[in-house]
């Protein structure tokens, strides 16, 4: 126990922005810490606002009793997905592994502390959602006063089970991958496959039980959320505990979380060293023969370096390339099943003319592709290798042009492919399809350049673990969240305007607006790069 406290305290201190602010003598770095705090506060406020708005929606529609379940579903889903994306970087393949494992810590102490570290770092996000929804619930449902302390207490417990499940899955993937020579590739493929499975799980379940239960149980939002509590028990326990409050539900949620924690980290700890040994070992073939060298332009050489950086890290690959892979899969599925069928499934057979969705196709794909621009994290990912680029006789702007070029290489083919698949399936006329393609490419350019602006402005080179800049960095958060919310709004706007305006005209206007934003972002990125 004492060992765990010492290690956990040090892990938290070693990534504490407050510690940097307190001890750093570099004014620029201290200013960046304040900037990070302000940026994070804005994001928390956004999340709180979104959660309260969701509660108001429930309250106004007389469904406020569904709020605890919905809060638990949102937190559990986010906790599961975010942990799954981070597990590889936090539990395995972390750079101070040698230092920690050579100290007298049990393997399960190291893994348990790494998990608790992940939990504490992500807790403010989950608390923002949960406590905001508790306030909304309090306003509309007027529950008994005892609900509030129970809700607050269980908000700390709720993310534990999904995080443990995600960590355990990450462990299983690492264990399977460690048996292969190309363990990095196997780990990436398995992780991606599982993420894709998660995204499509809802539709798979619906397809399996469509005929009997789903049509009936999904008649109302309230019933649907209640149903979720029966499928995933912790959600039901949470709802029961805060609505009752039911003591058995409180004890079940807390007890199972604790028990699962002990079991998972006993299992993980047992084979932790062997997995890490295998993952960190790089078999040397020593068969290289010098031949077939090619010359590339500087900008393409940088883009190629970025490609190798992406494919060389499971964490970066699963976070950076998942959007383009999902977009390609979405395009293929649409082409096979048909645009109408997909729309019917997503909108539950809502009666409307599907043609109005056609102008929104590039934005639907951009929702996936723009999820994360590699340019948002690649400046920070240089980390300790920053000196390499800095010491080479290359203009700073060229370095970032190369990074942007790589993101274009990565995103444009998938955007074009996705639009063609969806466009053909939706029978979009050729002139409109061409406009959609242009809009798609322009969106990629905007994502690339805007990501680069965020990446340079919030560059952080002193990270301990690459996940800190890939998943939690200020650059990525500031790029990702407004971008995601804006896209969702734009999809709605395109559908709305599509009913009133000609498709080509609407796409033309959007192309001009997005192109202007892309050019402005590009010039800003170059200007920031030039000043470095």
């Amino acid at each position: 126990m004492k060992d765990s406290i010492i290690l956990l305290k040090t892990l938290l201190l070693s990534t504490s922005q407050h510690n940097i602010y307190k001890h750093s003598t570099d004014k620029k770095r201290r200013r960046r810490v304040i900037g990070n705090y302000v940026g994070l506060a804005c994001l928390y406020l956004m999340l709180i606002g979104y959660s309260i708005a969701m509660c108001i929606g429930y309250g106004e529609s007389g469904l406020i009793e569904a709020a605890p379940v919905m809060s638990a579903i949102v937190i559990s889903t986010l906790a599961f997905l975010f942990t799954f994306f981070k597990t590889n970087g936090y539990l395995f393949n972390f750079k101070e592994y040698d230092m920690l494992m050579s100290l007298p810590f049990e393997s399960r102490t190291v893994t348990g502390c790494k998990f608790l570290y992940m939990y504490i770092k992500s807790l403010p996000w989950y608390l923002s959602i949960s406590l905001a929804m508790m306030i909304g619930y309090g306003i509309y449902a007027h529950p008994s006063p005892v609900v509030y302390p129970v809700w607050i207490l269980l908000s700390f417990v709720l993310p534990v089970i999904p995080m443990l499940l995600a960590s355990f899955l990450g462990f299983l993937i690492a264990r399977v991958s460690s048996g292969f020579r190309k363990n990095n590739i196997i780990q990436t493929i398995l992780t991606m496959a599982f993420i894709i499975l998660c995204f499509s799980l809802r539709y798979i379940i619906e397809a399996v039980i469509r005929d009997d239960q789903v049509e009936n149980t999904l008649q109302s939002v309230s019933e649907a959320t209640e149903n979720a509590g029966r499928v995933y028990l912790p959600v039901g326990w949470f709802a029961g505990a805060v609505r009752g409050p039911v003591v058995s539900d409180i004890l079940l949620l807390t007890g199972v979380s604790l028990l699962l924690f002990v079991i998972v980290f006993r299992i993980v700890g047992n084979s932790y060293r062997s997995i890490n040994s295998a993952l960190k070992s790089h078999a040397a073939a020593k068969k290289y023969r010098m031949n077939g060298q090619k010359k590339h332009s500087v900008i393409n050489a940088i883009a190629y370096k970025e490609f190798k950086r992406l494919t060389g890290s499971t964490t970066y690959m699963t976070n950076g390339a998942i959007g383009v892979i999902l977009s390609a899969l979405f395009g293929i599925v649409t082409l096979i099943l048909g645009f109408d069928k997909i729309v019917d499934t997503v909108t539950r057979n809502a009666p409307f003319d599907h043609v109005i969705l056609q102008p929104a196709i590039p934005f639907i794909l951009y929702f996936f592709i723009g999820m994360l621009a590699t340019t948002a994290c690649s400046p920070s990912l240089e980390g300790k290798n920053y000196w390499i680029m800095q010491s080479l006789p290359i203009e700073k702007t060229t370095i970032y042009k190369g990074k942007m070029l790589f993101n274009m290489y990565l995103t444009v083919p998938f955007m074009v492919f996705g639009i063609l698949c969806m466009g053909i399936s939706a029978k979009v006329p050729v002139p409109e399809l061409i406009m959609d393609l242009i809009l798609g490419v322009v969106l990629c350019a905007f994502s690339t350049a805007w990501g680069c602006v965020c990446g340079i402005r919030h560059m952080r080179l002193d990270w301990e673990n690459e996940i800190e800049v890939i998943k939690q960095g200020a650059a990525v958060s500031i790029y990702l969240l407004p971008n995601m919310f804006a896209v969702m709004g734009l999809v709605v706007l395109m559908v709305f305007l599509g009913m009133k305006m000609n498709h080509i005209l609407l796409s033309g206007i959007m192309i001009l607006i997005v192109a202007a934003l892309a050019v402005a972002s590009y010039l800003r990125a170059l200007s920031l790069a030039g000043r470095m």
């Binding site: 070693s14 230092m99 050579s102 040994s277 002193d462 301990e464």
Partner: protein, 242 residues
């Protein structure tokens, strides 16, 4: 002073993908009071051996004992008496030097007065006391190496394992470290370290092993091995024959 085996490596092998052996049937013994040099080319298997000794790298073939305890089965007993300094120490960059040293002192349960005395002693010796309040990220490679060395010394290990300890150290720090190694050795600590610097190994070590392509090609006391020649000549000869 009576000697006893502090580190025993028995028939240790490490295989990476496709059955290729990075280390093949390595056996050696380091006794208390020994300064044992482990020399070889880049990629010869030195770090793979050292990482297994300190419990970082898993292995299936052979046995490694520290003061009679098995690295595989009695991990904690081994780690409590061992200190390891890697060739390129990855310390927590966002801690200050003193925060990092306190972390290590906490791990080894060193009381406040004792840690203060030993941190001060070694920090003064390595002339780094003034910088202990600064972030490790602001340190040079040599300064990080010094912090790693101090962290290894403050808990008075009975086995000190160092991977290329002199890389990045300034001449004064190199001299200080050698003095400390002699002092520890006189007190009965066993020291096992890898190096490329043959002159240093020759002057510092009483025993040496030469590893090539994962196999020990020569080992023994310095006198037995060199037979009046320089270590460099011996190494080149063994390398040529091996």
């Amino acid at each position: 002073m009576s000697t006893k085996a502090m580190l025993e490596i028995k028939n240790y092998s490490k295989t990476y993908g496709e059955g290729k052996k990075a280390v093949d049937d390595v056996s050696l013994t380091v006794e208390s009071g020994d300064i044992y040099g482990f020399i070889g080319h880049n990629g010869a298997g030195k770090s793979t051996t050292i990482r297994a000794v300190v419990g970082v790298l898993d292995f299936t073939e052979g046995e490694i004992l520290i003061d009679g305890h098995s690295v595989k089965d009695e991990e904690m007993e081994c780690k409590r008496i061992t200190a390891y300094i890697p060739d390129n120490p990855d310390l927590y960059e966002n801690l200050t030097g003193i925060q990092y040293l306190n972390f290590i002192a906490d791990v080894f349960d060193i009381d406040a007065a004792e840690r203060e005395t030993s941190i001060k002693k070694y920090a003064d010796l390595f002339e780094i006391t003034d910088s202990l309040g600064d972030m490790i990220s602001s340190y040079s490679h040599g300064m990080k190496q010094k912090v790693a060395i101090i962290s290894a010394l403050i808990h008075k290990p009975r086995l000190l394992v160092l991977d290329e300890p002199f890389v990045g150290l300034d001449p004064k720090a190199t001299f200080t470290l050698k003095e400390i190694m002699h002092e520890m050795c006189a007190q009965g600590t066993a020291i096992f370290f890898s190096t490329h610097v043959l002159d240093v190994a020759e002057k510092l070590c009483n025993k040496v092993a030469i590893i090539k392509h994962g196999r020990i090609i020569a080992s023994g006391t310095m006198e037995e091995l060199t037979e009046g020649h320089s270590l460099e000549e011996t190494f080149m000869e063994a390398d040529h024959e091996g």
